[in-house]
């Protein structure tokens, strides 16, 4: 097992097991000795990564920032080697009910705004940064589903939209694609009053000193084709058409949100 390249991922859903089992088998056919370990939350994964328990992390955007900051604290360097095509240029939206008179963020001042889990970049941190930047104070109503999984589980966003439709909140914050996705589930009748600037989502994170087999791993990831019927179901489950080169330019908003709200302060201080 000495040369096995190990990936860390968070088990935010049962499908994570077949996804990485499938990729493992696909890599094995291409003679890459690969395995993975699953964590129940991103903080434990980031700490394990810095400890050297595995080589590459499949990180949420917040876990990426946690890794960068913890690495910096320890005099290490973090970088990203790949991300999904669907991780680039996402937006979060603030929704109101179709029949609401609200037409802008400012009109939500003092109102109840439903957000996702406390650590969800897309349904909590980034949209709340929009309110903060606009100087609009609101009453935040959190929908904490599986905290520690950084909003990967869609349940928090769904609960926020349900609360909106039930009249329990005046607005709800979700990732852009979920407005239409929830409408298909019967949770329609919403309108966008604000869209955040674009940002990036998950990435494959490595630390300095990663084994050289990471080059082959990255090469194979980027070679996966949606036309390949063997790998296509895995890409479908993981929600991408193609793996692309990683970039770090899309995390500025989340960095600012973390600084503004002190999201990572206590955790980082304890490390």
């Amino acid at each position: 097992m000495r040369n096995t390249l190990i990936l860390g991922a968070v088990a935010y859903d049962a499908k994570v097991v077949p996804i990485w089992d499938g990729f493992k088998a696909w890599f094995a056919k291409r003679e890459l000795d690969f395995d993975f370990v699953l964590y129940t939350n991103y903080e434990r994964q980031v700490e394990a990564h810095l400890r050297g328990d595995f080589h590459v992390a499949w990180n949420s955007p917040l876990a990426w920032i946690e890794t960068v900051r913890l690495a910096r604290k320890r005099g290490r360097d973090a970088s990203t080697i790949a991300m999904r095509d669907t991780d680039k240029d996402l937006k979060s939206v603030v929704l109101v009910r179709d029949d609401s008179a609200v037409k802008s963020l400012a009109e939500l001042r003092g109102k109840r705004v439903g957000v996702g889990a406390a650590d969800s970049p897309q349904a909590t941190l980034i949209p709340l940064l929009s309110f903060a930047d606009a100087g609009v104070d609101v009453e935040v109503v959190r929908h904490d589903v599986l905290v520690g999984k950084h909003g990967d589980h869609v349940g928090g966003e769904r609960d926020a939209v349900k609360a909106l439709l039930a009249g329990a909140v005046d607005a709800a914050c979700v990732i852009d694609g979920n407005r239409v996705a929830f409408a298909r589930e019967g949770l329609g009748g919403t309108r966008v009053v604000h869209a955040t600037p674009a940002y990036d989502h998950c990435n494959m994170t490595v630390l300095d000193g990663v084994p050289t087999t990471i080059t082959r791993f990255r090469e194979l990831l980027l070679s996966m084709s949606y036309d390949d019927p063997e790998v296509r179901p895995l890409l479908d489950m993981e929600g991408l058409k193609v793996w692309e080169a990683g970039r770090t330019s899309g995390y500025v908003l989340l960095e600012r949100a973390c600084d503004r709200f002190g999201t990572l302060d206590a955790w980082l201080a304890a490390q």
């Binding site: 095509d85 680039k88 852009d176 694609g177 407005r179 966008v192 296509r232 058409k241």
Partner: protein, 386 residues
């Protein structure tokens, strides 16, 4: 010029994506316009998940179709109106003739060669079976008088008990093959399914008849069950179907006709008549696909003969048809305990055994065995009838 589509005020949360998809189906690049309030956000998010590229244009959005295509490498699961000689696992559960995406999981359906299972008559027999389904609640005169002596009723109950046991085997044995049959052979799948439904109905009516006057059922012998158990051991569809349908159900057909003609009450006579109609179809299918199989591969005949001999060997030490069933049939046909009636009943049962033998020989001849082979093989058939 890039074709343009106008969504008017239709949102993507209201089905607007259908118009976009439709346009992208025929054009690599399109211009999308619309007045829905959230169109820019929704369209960008939708394009991202689909792999399409989207850019703002002067009066709308320019969308370039994704280079990734789920349907590359897809293939038709044969032709809708003609079964293929072989159905590959990669067609999976798809309707015959459907366009199947590559990468379908193998669900393990090894009966995939037409020669092993096909009969051109399957579609006709299925249609006939579907049209001939009868409702046990209304088709049988459950209230018809039962005026025969108690012990004759006991004999009826014993025969029903025996029929239920045999029909259970007739339901389960083909169903085990049905679960392994490639659904490309739709007509055969449908026919086996409706046969199972037939057997389920027979089990229902035989049970109901047995309980009309009695709280308990009759006897089940180890020898009878050993005979049926050999049907479960047979892994080859052709051989199992030969033993069960052509020989077993063929003999059973004679038994049901016997009950139709000799049973002491109208209810038993009618349910035997209706069950016999169904069983005749089962025998017809067995004969049809085995006839075709033997024609395409004459060596099958040798395997069929060997299977009868093997089964006979396996059952040498069993009692075969239990004395209780034989005696019950005699009493049932006699109708009472007078010596004259018993003589008549006994003669009828002996004639029945003769008819079963002659029916088996006739069917074996239809499969290409000569008269001497047919007579020898028929004689080796289980004494349990099925």
């Amino acid at each position: 010029m890039t074709p343009a589509i106008d969504l008017d005020d239709l949102g993507l949360d209201e089905g607007g994506h259908l118009l976009v998809k439709r346009a992208l189906h025929t054009h690599g690049q399109i211009l999308v316009r619309g007045r829905a309030p959230s169109l820019d956000v929704d369209l960008s998010a939708w394009c991202r998940t689909q792999g399409h590229r989207i850019e703002p244009a002067a009066d709308g959005f320019a969308i370039t179709r994704s280079p990734h295509d789920r349907w590359r490498g897809a293939e038709r699961a044969g032709a809708v109106d003609r079964a293929a000689d072989f159905a590959p696992a990669r067609w999976g559960l798809a309707a015959r003739g459907a366009l199947v995406e590559a990468g379908v999981p193998d669900v393990g359906l090894p009966l995939a060669y037409k020669v092993d299972i096909w009969a051109d008559e399957a579609a006709r027999l299925y249609a006939q079976a579907a049209a001939a389904q009868w409702d046990p609640a209304t088709a049988i005169p459950w209230d018809a008088p039962i005026e025969h002596p108690d012990e004759v009723e006991d004999a009826v109950v014993q025969v029903m008990t025996y029929l239920i046991e045999n029909e259970t085997a007739a339901l389960l044995v083909p169903t085990r093959f049905l679960g392994r049959l490639h659904p490309h052979f739709r007509e055969v799948m449908q026919l086996l399914a409706i046969q199972a439904a037939d057997e389920a109905r027979h089990i229902e009516v035989f049970t109901r008849r047995a309980r009309l006057r009695r709280g308990e059922l009759g006897l089940s012998t180890a020898g009878g069950q050993a005979s049926l158990a050999t049907l479960f051991d047979e892994p080859d569809f052709a051989i199992a179907s030969f033993l069960l349908s052509v020989l077993g159900e063929g003999s059973f057909l004679a038994l049901l006709w016997f009950l139709r003609d000799h049973a002491p009450d109208a209810c038993t006579r009618e349910l035997a008549r209706l069950a016999a109609q169904d069983e005749a179809r089962h025998v017809a299918f067995g004969l049809a696909h085995l006839g075709r199989h033997v024609q395409e591969d004459p060596t099958v005949r040798g395997r069929l003969a060997a299977a009868i001999e093997r089964r006979h060997g396996a059952l040498t030490n069993t009692a075969g048809l239990n004395a209780e069933v034989f005696d019950a049939l005699v009493l049932l046909a006699a109708g009472d305990w007078t010596p004259a009636s018993l003589r008549r009943g006994h003669a009828a049962v002996v004639a029945l055994v003769g008819e079963m033998d002659s029916g088996r020989r006739q069917r074996l001849t239809r499969l290409g065995f000569d008269a001497a082979q047919a007579a020898a093989l028929s004689a080796l058939h289980t004494r349990n009838f099925m």
